[in-house]
């Protein structure tokens, strides 16, 4: 099938108007030697056949039938039902980047409100319209910091940053004039603050840390922040935004740039994308910001309106001098997360965060009470924590999978010396019955 409107007769009429015999006469610029023969057989499907095909493919994924405890940057939260009703509205779904502001006031205002919501959560002054994902946000934030601190060369990054995010930061920084220094973590997953204190100096561009970190640990960020500020290095905080419903905000902690992924507020797991990278900063850094930013203004009749602004930073104007090559961002997914944040509101965001904390705290206490299982860290957490097994972790995982449970993410792949360490996540979606069942199965060993 196809979605072409015109009939063969209409095509003929159009060819006549153009003054050519056939469509091939319009393709003469293409060297004949490389032109393909038109396919003779229709190898497409009907819409119905296509739907059956997709259902069959989806059915090959057995994962949704498991009770799982995976997090690590992709969190299984409730998606409010009204999200898809709004996001599927034609004018949001099928519009493009709001270049024609007069015809795009709806989208521009939603982006403005997204920026406002990100600022509200993080406690920062300014947000952009979104970047791709948390990993990309981390990389763009370090590039921002480098633009601001051109003469400095040292970039400090916590070893407890999500390894995938770190991979992407390395990717973006390889061609930059910087030295990457990794700040190690201590044996309980907390940041080695002494190392940090030693390492930060007058040549330090920025310090990038995660909150909670990859192991679910909430570090003593106030202490960290003070040490970073002493040398006027920029402090970049990468956070699951749900943390701001409970723990100190990036603003309170004195962060200069706050980044992360808005996915926990309403986007399904969907195998890792689309998610929504957010990037917010202090007012003074706004001109280093990558990507789209929407601002408020007036029209010629004096009515309030919204436009893309500060565009002198962007690739379509500045080309090789742009702050980034980003153009498309995650607009529709950003709208979904905005709707998620607003559905919870100021009180709901706090309660959601607390509920996540309490359910995971319960699970952590009960799991680590099992002989042979211990807690990797006693530092505060949000909704993730690491457990350590005395015996082989594989046995526990196998036992759980037989009972249709995926108990968490083994960490050995990322940190070879963390054999038998499992990263476990429990959100508001976990009932006491579910948690008790995992505890029971884990305890059988």
């Amino acid at each position: 099938m196809d979605f072409v409107s015109n009939t063969g007769e209409q095509a003929k009429e159009m060819l006549q108007a153009i003054g050519v015999e056939n469509i091939n006469s319009l393709l003469t610029a293409i060297p004949e030697a490389i032109q393909l023969d038109p396919p003779v057989k229709d190898d497409g499907l009907s819409e119905y056949e296509g739907m059956r095909h997709m259902e069959a493919l989806a059915a090959k994924n057995t994962f949704p039938s498991f009770d799982h405890y995976l997090g690590a940057g992709a969190y299984d939260h409730h998606t409010p039902a009204y999200l898809s009703a709004i996001c599927q509205k034609s004018e949001f779904l099928t519009a493009y980047t709001p270049y024609q502001a007069e015809a795009s006031q709806g989208m521009l205002q939603t982006i403005f409100e997204f920026q406002s919501a990100v600022c509200a959560l993080t406690g920062m002054d300014v947000s952009n319209a979104s970047v791709y994902d948390a990993a990309n946000a981390c990389a763009e934030a370090v590039l921002m910091a480098k633009r601001q601190q051109k003469k400095r060369r040292k970039v400090l990054i916590g070893a407890s940053l999500h390894p995938h995010y770190r991979g992407v930061v390395d990717q973006y920084l390889e061609s930059q004039d910087v030295d990457l220094v990794t700040v190690p973590f201590r044996s309980d997953g907390t940041l080695d603050i002494d190392f940090l204190e030693e390492a930060v100096d007058e040549d330090t561009v920025c310090v990038l840390l995660q909150y909670p970190n990859f192991f679910g640990v909430i570090d003593q960020m106030e202490e960290v922040s003070a040490r970073v500020k002493k040398h006027e290095a920029l402090f970049i905080l990468c956070a699951n935004p749900l943390v701001y419903g409970l723990y100190q905000s990036a603003g309170e902690l004195g962060a200069d740039i706050a980044v992360g992924d808005m996915q926990p507020f309403g986007l399904p797991l969907q195998f890792g994308g689309p998610y929504v990278g957010y990037i917010a900063c202090r007012q003074g850094l706004v001109r280093q910001m990558p990507g789209r930013i929407v601002g408020e203004t007036f029209d010629t009749e004096g009515r309030r309106g919204f436009v893309l602004t500060l565009q002198a930073r962007e690739q379509h104007i500045r080309r090789e001098k742009a702050t980034s090559n980003i153009c498309s961002n995650q607009a529709l997914a950003a709208l979904a997360t905005l709707l998620g944040v607003l559905w919870y509101g100021p009180e709901g965001v706090k309660k959601l965060a607390l509920t996540n904390y309490q359910r995971s705290a319960y699970l952590k206490e009960k799991l680590t009470a099992i002989p042979g299982i211990s807690a990797y860290s006693n530092a505060p957490h949000l909704n993730e924590f690491v457990i350590r097994t005395e015996g082989p972790l594989d046995a526990l995982i196998e036992r759980c999978e037989k009972e249709k449970i995926v108990p968490g993410l083994p960490l050995e792949r990322y940190f070879p010396n963390m054999k038998n360490h499992l990263l476990v996540c429990a959100t508001e979606k976990k009932s006491k019955e579910q948690l008790d069942r995992l505890i029971e199965v884990a305890g059988r060993g």
């Binding site: 059915a59 509205k89 779904l93």
Partner: protein, 485 residues
């Protein structure tokens, strides 16, 4: 006056619900000294008011579903709703990106088949779907070119040749990846100037970034010579796949001599534009560049598919997980529905629609390049400058007639440029209507130029003060407006 949601807050109202608390849980309390002290300045709004607010905003926006949208270079074709249906299947939405391989075989098969189909369509041999948009695809492609030269001991190749008609992302990407850019001028036929290209090639040439058909909608008849010149200089060819729509089933970038490329799935493959994303930017390459493709990669193994999270030659990671899965899933279905047969039909009809419009608009505007175009074409709207009417004014007046404006002032090489791309979706009646509207606007320019210069008149806003927005930036709702604090 239009209100933001932050100004609609009513103390104590809410939309959320949470699972019931349980005594077993409530005894756990986080440590006091770490807690947030400042309020979260979000509005308090019930679900009905949230819904009305955003329904109202939707009505203040144009989309393809509601209006003809001939925005050049953006390929605003129908976004079939069957794509949305598929992306919402719980079998896909409930899969975690770090789930054990054997539990997500459907996803991995989809990734493998999508890449195979795209490679076949483009004459390439391997690829990655991990890039979240076209610009990220460009970045990865250029990083792969850098890795290739490094491996050959030719790290000194630090220049990328880029035509002056290129998308702004090309030079921005080159610089982000650590290259110098060398701009190649366009000749009077709208094509790359071969002599200047030759002169620009040197031992420092890493490669050429090229869009073909280019941004004025023309296929380069000397593409094979271009490829030869760059390859002989030791450079590689990067294909910007933004304009792939009219190529499908007709000619393949791989056969034109390109070594690596990206595709914008939200253009050619109908995934929703969503007001500016999410996109998806698959990267495809020839065998010699395959070792450098980003990880993770999906591999077909004896007993199914597996994920390779790292290898010794890859440039590494580019996204948090596997890219925008739910976006390339839509593109996959679109390809399945069409087959190569249907995709070729798309390409032909896109070319036909564009050439038809171009022929019909010739009496109103200067047509700088008279040869047949591919999927889009430029008109030079400088005929009415004596009346004080610019391309911008015509674009704004189109909005009043219920048509989204074409891309204007791009590419930069054409004066008062309007880049028009009707896509294969549109019917003859819509195209004829567009011509009639353009004729009417030209009449207005003669009879009442002020009407055009002050357009639009029927949109939710008249022209907006962009200078004020940039000079006195207001970038978020002020927290005083929010009742909660």
């Amino acid at each position: 006056m239009v209100k933001t949601l932050f100004e609609k807050s009513q103390k104590g109202q809410k939309a959320y619900s949470l699972p019931k608390e349980d005594e077993a849980f409530t005894s756990f309390q986080p440590p006091q000294e770490y807690l947030r002290e400042t309020p979260i300045p979000l509005p308090e709004v019930s679900e009905i008011d949230l819904t009305r607010h955003y329904s109202g905003l939707a009505q203040r926006n144009m989309g393809i579903d509601t209006h003809f949208y001939p925005l050049g270079s953006c390929t605003m074709k129908l976004n079939p709703r069957v794509n949305e249906w598929a992306a919402a299947l719980p079998g896909f939405t409930r899969t975690h990106p770090l789930a054990p391989d054997e539990m997500v075989q459907g996803n991995l098969q989809l990734i493998d088949e999508t890449l195979a189909f795209l490679c076949d369509l483009c004459g390439m041999e391997a690829g990655s779907l991990n890039q979240n948009a076209g610009a990220q695809g460009e970045f990865v492609g250029i990083r792969m070119i850098a890795a290739y030269h490094r491996e050959k001991g030719e790290s000194h190749r630090n220049e990328l040749l880029i035509p002056d008609s290129a998308h702004g992302t090309n030079p921005a990407t080159a610089v982000m990846a650590g290259f110098k850019t060398v701009s190649i001028p366009t000749d009077e036929n709208g094509d790359i100037d071969l002599e200047k290209l030759k002169a620009a090639c040197s031992e420092n040439t890493a490669g050429l970034m090229l869009t073909n058909p280019n941004t004025v909608g023309l296929f380069s008849p000397v593409i094979m010579q271009i490829a030869q010149i760059v390859h002989e200089a030791g450079g590689l060819l990067y294909y910007d796949g933004a304009n792939l729509n009219p190529m499908m089933g007709i000619v393949r970038p791989g056969d034109m001599g390109f070594d690596v490329m990206h595709i914008n799935l939200h253009k050619t493959f109908s995934t929703p534009h969503g007001g500016g994303g999410p996109g998806s930017g698959p990267v495809l390459c020839k065998k010699r560049l395959e070792p450098y493709l980003p990880v993770p990669r999906v591999r077909e193994e004896q007993d199914g598919y597996g994920i390779e999270w790292s290898n010794g030659t890859s440039i590494g990671e580019i996204s948090s997980f596997h890219g925008n899965f739910a976006i390339y899933l839509r593109a996959y279905l679109y390809m399945k529905l069409h087959g190569v047969y249907g995709l070729r039909r798309i390409a032909e009809m896109a070319v036909l629609n564009a050439n038809y419009l171009k022929a019909r608009l010739g009496h109103l505007f200067t047509i700088p390049y008279s040869q047949p175009c591919m999927h889009e074409f430029v008109v030079q709207a400088d005929n009415y400058l004596d009346k004080g009417v610019k391309a911008l004014d015509i674009a704004k007046r189109l909005l009043d007639y219920g048509i989204h404006a074409p891309t204007i002032y791009f590419p930069l090489i054409v004066k008062e440029c309007m880049l028009i791309e009707p896509t294969e979706s549109e019917s003859l009646a819509t195209l004829d209507h567009f011509v009639e509207v353009m004729e009417k606007i030209v009449e207005e320019i003669h009879s009442d130029p002020e009407l055009v210069k002050s357009a639009p008149h029927s949109m939710p806003a008249t022209r907006l003060d962009e200078v004020k927005a940039a000079k006195e930036p207001i970038l978020k709702a002020s927290s005083e407006q929010c009742a909660c604090c």
